[in-house]
Amino acid sequence: MQLPVRENIDKTVRLLVRSTGFLAIAILGGILFMLLWNTMAFFLQIKPLDFITGTQWNPSGDPALYGILPLLVSTSLVTLGAMVIAIPLGIGTAAFLSEYAGSKLKGILKPAIEMLAAVPSVAIGFLGIVLLGPGIAGLTGQSNGLNALNGAVLLAIMALPTIVTVAEDALHGIPDSYKEASYGVGANRWQTLIRVTIPAAAPGILAAVMLGVGRAIGETMTVLMATGNASAFPKGFFHSVRTITATIAIEMGEVPYQTTHYYSLFAIATVLFLFTLIVNMLGEYFVNKYRKYHSA
């Protein structure tokens, strides 16, 4: 009497779980298809070589120019800048939390840092305009501080909670026995941290970094607000830049449907997708490479 009912519930649940799984894959596939389809439409009209080597992005000019280089350089500048700031700061903070801070201090600091992740990107972008921008302008003597550096600092702030949390978990998960072995041969805390704990936690730390990079590359609102969005070819950290994400966000709203310009935005979105894909695959590769020392 009871068994059929339970089996029926079991079947229904299984069906439900399976269909949600398929739905997720279908959505993913749909997005990928839409990206590639529209990108193809773009390349039927614009030569790939012009797209890759063109140094100007000016779709509404005459002639319209679709060079992705300035956007690519902008995105790279902002992302690299953010990582240069966030990686050492993030790993340092994680190491401090897990190895040096007492349990009381950690109990306050860690939730505070995690809370930083909940700040909406608009609010962070706002901070860039009213606080960081004038600050940078004052230091450099420029008229405003909306540039690559501003965006990089903000993205670093946004990537930090992820990097700190994931890296701290990785460091914390290293068994005490490794550390004791290190202290046992006469190493001090610093040597143990640098030569044993961090290398042992490398897969987790790399995962943390990759998650941080992923967040920085894909972030739109903050860079849109903080980097000035000048369409000129980016000259450096103290100049206004226009990232791929910002370009899509700015132009998608006003572009006529199914024009070359419309297709071009999908093309740069595909490039962005490739970027994040490569970052993820590199991360995976390094994680596996380090894992070989851990398998018991």
Partner: protein, 253 residues
């Protein structure tokens, strides 16, 4: 025992973890170039006592220690003394084999680097330490292999090699054979007996036969106190305390 002067000793030691009184007025001595076994039921404080001698408790903020620990009449907890120096002189092999997640070679090389032993000497020291620990023949062709791929017994011998490579004066061993098969256990016992001519050895063990096979002196602990200490043969054959008698004859613990 008269020809073996005391190398390491503890005097009136008390230790608390928070409010928990774990070692109660413990006094012990370990003679030079002898093997001393620490026995007693689980939780009686053997590991805790052992770890005092290379100051491993410095790392746990809730541990509080009083009393005196002497190595060659020098107080191990003196203000002027360097912890890392203490740990180099008093090496430790842990209860569970804990090689670093690095190559076999690097596992020993690490301690040498930390202690500023010149590069030119390291290769020889590593080879020698692996030979002394009877693991050389098994690993000589694959020194770059991850140490975590070794068997449990090989890992434990590697950990012993890591310790002897630094030429400590005392080696503390916390149940080094607890995770091993009888054959690996015998190999390690053989190794320990050979090491005694160069080192002073303290070994924690739950294995009464092992204590009798290798230890010159045995100390029996119960609930954080030393109940009885003496020559191994005497302690096992003519225990002075009833509790010791019950324990070594397997009636409790």
């Amino acid at each position: 025992m008269t020809d073996h002067p005391t190398k390491l000793s503890a005097h009136s030691v008390n230790l608390w973890f928070g409010n928990k009184h774990v070692l109660k007025d413990v006094s012990v001595t370990f003679p030079r170039n002898q093997i001393t076994a620490l026995i007693g039921p689980s939780g009686c404080g053997k590991s805790t006592l052992l770890r005092c001698f290379n100051r491993m408790h410095d790392l746990s903020p809730d541990a509080r220690i009083t009393g005196e620990f002497l190595l060659d009449n020098q107080n191990l907890y003196d203000h002027g003394i360097s912890v890392t120096q203490v740990r180099r002189r008093v090496g430790m092999v842990f209860q569970r084999a804990n090689p670093f997640p690095k190559s076999i070679y690097e596992n020993i090389n690490y301690g040498l680097k930390i202690n500023h032993i010149p590069k030119t000497e390291r290769q020889g020291i590593i080879e020698n330490a692996l030979k002394e620990s009877y693991i050389w023949d098994e690993v000589k062709d694959e020194l770059q292999k991850p140490a975590t791929r070794l068997s449990g017994g090989q890992q434990q011998r590697l950990c012993i090699a890591r310790t002897v490579a630094l030429r400590p004066e005392v080696i503390l061993m916390d149940e080094p054979c607890s995770a091993l098969d009888p054959l690996s256990t015998l190999k390690i016992e053989e190794l320990i007996v050979k090491l005694k001519k160069d080192y002073t050895i303290v070994i924690v063990t739950h294995n009464m036969q092992q204590a009798q096979r290798i230890a010159d002196k045995t100390i029996f602990m119960y609930l954080g106190e030393v109940v009885e200490a003496g020559d191994t043969k005497a302690l096992f054959e003519h225990p002075q305390q009833e509790m010791t008698a019950n324990y070594v004859r397997g009636r409790f613990g």
